[in-house]
């Protein structure tokens, strides 16, 4: 025998320690993610399951709750008010998203030039992001006030209008007005994401393109935009989700009016659940909205990440 018994025991001990350490590392990994999993389960998983449960019932506030299966879903899908709210939410999302991104991209390009004052402007553009939607809505509501608002005052002083415009009076003026407010408020956030993406594009790629004779626009089209796609996808998914779930700005500025023409789906869910106390219906609408939003996000990611571009 070449290996003694004690050597055998020693190598087994070593192997045992290695296996134990690996197991401990794996366990440590699980322990590290445990708080996040617990919080997610508690504040997202459990409420989600409970909402699903409520959506399958007739759920009066006091009294017995009756299981009614998919009746709530049936009612909602044939309810014109639900679709009206969905259509308006869709309209708002389709209008506000390009507005935000054109401005955010423009700002990111500008800030990326490295001109003097870059750091200052980067912060200035980001400041509106940190105030609440409600505060922002109240500020802009005063700006847009038909009799006492500064916007109408300026427009009248410049003789662009003679009669005050009632900005919140009808959807065709209140929607663009609110979109402007939202662009002001959120473009900075998306600018930061796009900027980070831009700054991770290596200089050499631009240099070699310049050597090949590419001008600014061509560099933008063939280098910046394609390489920006992952950042763009992230920013887009987050922005679209936020727009679909829009609540504060419309609740404060138009109260959904006139005649529910500016009522978003979240407002309708809120009213149904907490003003009319139809909790089963509200829960069902929330579940439907979540499913639609997940589908929308998946579609966006598929489309935006279809060809990973590498140089």
């Amino acid at each position: 025998m070449n290996v003694s018994i004690s050597q055998h025991m020693r190598s087994s001990a070593i192997v045992f320690h290695v296996i134990l350490r690996r197991a401990c590392q794996r366990l440590a990994g699980y322990i590290f993610i445990l708080p996040a999993v617990v919080l997610e389960g508690l504040f997202f998983g459990y409420p989600l399951l409970r909402t699903l449960y409520i959506s399958l019932h007739d759920w009066p506030v006091l009294g017995t709750k009756h299981y009614i299966g998919l009746e709530n879903y049936d009612y909602i899908l044939s309810n014109e008010q639900f679709w009206e709210a969905m259509r308006f939410t869709g309209l708002y999302t389709v209008v506000v998203t390009p507005a935000i991104f054109i401005v955010a991209f423009g700002l990111a390009v500008l800030v990326n030039q490295g001109l003097p004052g870059t750091t200052f402007f980067r912060s200035v553009y980001f400041v509106p992001v940190v105030i609440s939607f409600v505060s922002s809505s109240l500020i802009w509501l005063w700006i847009y006030h038909d009799l006492y608002g500064i916007l109408n005052y300026i427009l009248r002083e410049l003789h662009l209008i003679t009669e005050p415009i009632v900005w919140m009076g009808e959807r065709k003026t209140s929607l663009p007005a609110i979109v402007i407010m939202i662009v002001w408020k959120t473009a900075g956030f998306n600018m930061v994401i796009l900027l980070a993406g831009m700054q991770s594009i290596p200089e050499q790629v631009y240099e070699s393109a310049a050597l090949d004779g590419a001008n600014f626009v061509q560099r933008m089209r063939h280098i910046t935009l394609p390489l920006l796609r992952p950042s763009f996808a992230l920013a887009m998914v987050v922005s679209v989700a936020g727009s679909v779930l829009a609540f504060d700005q419309f609740k404060v500025m138009t109260r959904g009016g006139p005649a529910n023409t500016t009522r978003t789906i979240m407002m309708y869910i809120y009213d149904t659940s907490f003003a009319y106390f139809r909790l089963g219906e509200g829960a069902a609408m929330a579940i439907l909205l979540m499913v639609m939003l997940i589908a929308l996000s998946v579609v966006q990611l598929r489309v935006l990440q279809r060809q990973a571009v590498e140089y």
Binding site: P60, V61, L62, G63, D146, L147, E163, P164, V166, M168, G169, E170, T254, R255, G257, P258, A259, N260, D271, F274, A275, Y276, F277
Partner: protein, 418 residues
């Protein structure tokens, strides 16, 4: 550990063990009645009650929770579902039929019948607290609507400030005379369904129109008499007698306009008197009843609070004691009338405060002709109601069409709830 630290620790331990039992004995003797209210005007009444109980040496005290009006239904319903409702609740009367339909309140019929002044309680308000012939909530504090007008602007326009409009034709003529380059003759809130109920529907009621039928089972918004009333105000919008943003104005918007003397007439509630006399004493204003078309009848919205005892209260007897106290002269006159709320007992209308400020007497009179509809789905009906009214105000639909569509949608809401 050293001596001082040990001594300190012992003292803390003793305090912690003995302390609670000391305070507990003091609290054991006092029954605390939990009360929820949405109006700050109630606070002096609560203080008065607590002061009297202490003076008499009775171990009874009210602890109140103020809940914002907009949050009230959600918070109260949540508390009911959790079994944590207060012992006494002062609640917006329009919500009471819903809460009665879910059995939220204790039956007060017997104690109500024993009240000596039961026949003086405002019938429109009492009706909303009643279900199936049983009384579950009593009138408590009244808010009623009437026409308010700026007497100085009346004089400037050549109108007699002591002769406010009593017919629609007079109201229209006055609005026309009062509208100038920077003043509008009239103002209302097209964007507030509660505001429209409070300030516009009474014109329809005075004209013979209806919102719902007697027991709230049929929507009657498209009644021709109501159409006439709404058309009257749509004409004002189209002829520029009200501010251009009126169709989406909030309740504050038109009141602010009146307070800036940019709006000469408005319909609003008794709470405006103390607001104006305290904060805008330079405005010389008058109060008049809301007229019907031909001046033969008047109407108003009977709003305000009812008071009730939620089922599950551990102190129903003490809660009733609080209610009786709140309905007594001491409170209805010395607190409510003094602060500009109309007493809910008609035998108390003739009090010193109303004699000193006769404009309150018009509101008291308004309460006698006031009405409020009965329905268990008040908040839900507001939605189609507002849509219909706004479609009429913006000209999106003709008044007849807008109200007809609204009536259908309101009927659908009612039918779903039954």
């Amino acid at each position: 550990m050293n001596k001082t630290r040990r001594l300190f620790l012992i003292m803390v331990l003793v305090a912690v063990l003995v302390g609670p039992s000391l305070t507990a004995t003091a609290q054991d003797d006092v029954t605390v009645v939990q009360l929820w209210t949405r109006t700050t005007s109630l606070f002096p009444a609560i203080d008065a009650f607590n002061a009297e109980m202490e003076a008499e040496g009775q171990g009874l005290r009210i602890e109140y929770t103020f809940v914002e009006n907009a949050d009230f239904p959600t918070k109260f319903t949540t508390a009911l579902a959790a079994g944590e409702a207060p012992d006494v609740v002062s609640i917006d009367l329009v919500l009471v039929p819903y809460y009665n339909s879910i059995g939220a309140f204790m039956d007060l019929t017997n104690t109500y019948e024993a009240l000596e002044y039961k026949d003086t309680l405002n019938p429109a308000m009492l009706n909303l607290g009643t279900a199936d012939g049983h009384v579950y909530a009593l009138p408590f504090g009244a808010d009623v609507s009437a026409l308010i007008y700026n007497r100085a602007l009346f004089e400037a326009a050549g109108l007699d400030p002591d002769a406010p409009p009593t017919t629609w034709a007079e109201l229209r003529a006055a609005a026309e005379a009062l509208t100038t380059d920077d003043v509008y003759g009239y103002g209302f809130s097209g964007g507030s369904p509660g505001g429209l109920m409070f300030t516009m529907m009474p014109y329809a009621w005075a004209n013979g129109g209806q919102w719902l039928n007697e027991d709230g089972t049929v929507s009657e918004l498209d009644d021709p008499k109501t159409v006439e009333a709404v058309q009257f105000f749509v004409d004002m919008i189209n002829d520029g007698l009200v501010p251009p943003g009126t169709a989406t104005y909030s309740y504050d918007d038109f009141q602010n306009g009146f307070k800036q003397e940019k709006i000469a007439m408005m319909t609003t509630g008794n709470f405006v008197i103390s607001d104006l006399t305290t904060n805008f004493p330079d405005i010389d204003f008058g109060v008049a009843l809301i007229p019907g078309q031909d001046g033969k009848s008047f109407s108003a919205f009977a709003g305000g609070d009812l008071i009730a005892i939620p089922n599950g209260s551990k102190h129903p007897e003490e809660a009733w004691q609080v209610i009786e106290f709140m309905l007594s002269d001491a409170i209805q006159v010395e607190v409510f009338a003094k602060n500009g709320q109309i007493p809910v007992r008609s035998d108390l209308y003739g009090n010193a405060y109303f004699e000193a400020e006769p404009r309150y007497q018009v509101f008291a009179k308004a309460l006698t002709v006031a009405y409020v509809p009965y329905t268990t789905v008040y908040n839900e009906l507001y939605d189609p109601f507002l849509v219909g009214m706004q479609n009429a105000f913006t000209g999106e639909k003709s008044v007849e069409e807008a109200l007809a569509d609204a009536t259908k949608d309101m009927q659908a809401v009612i039918d779903r709830s039954r």
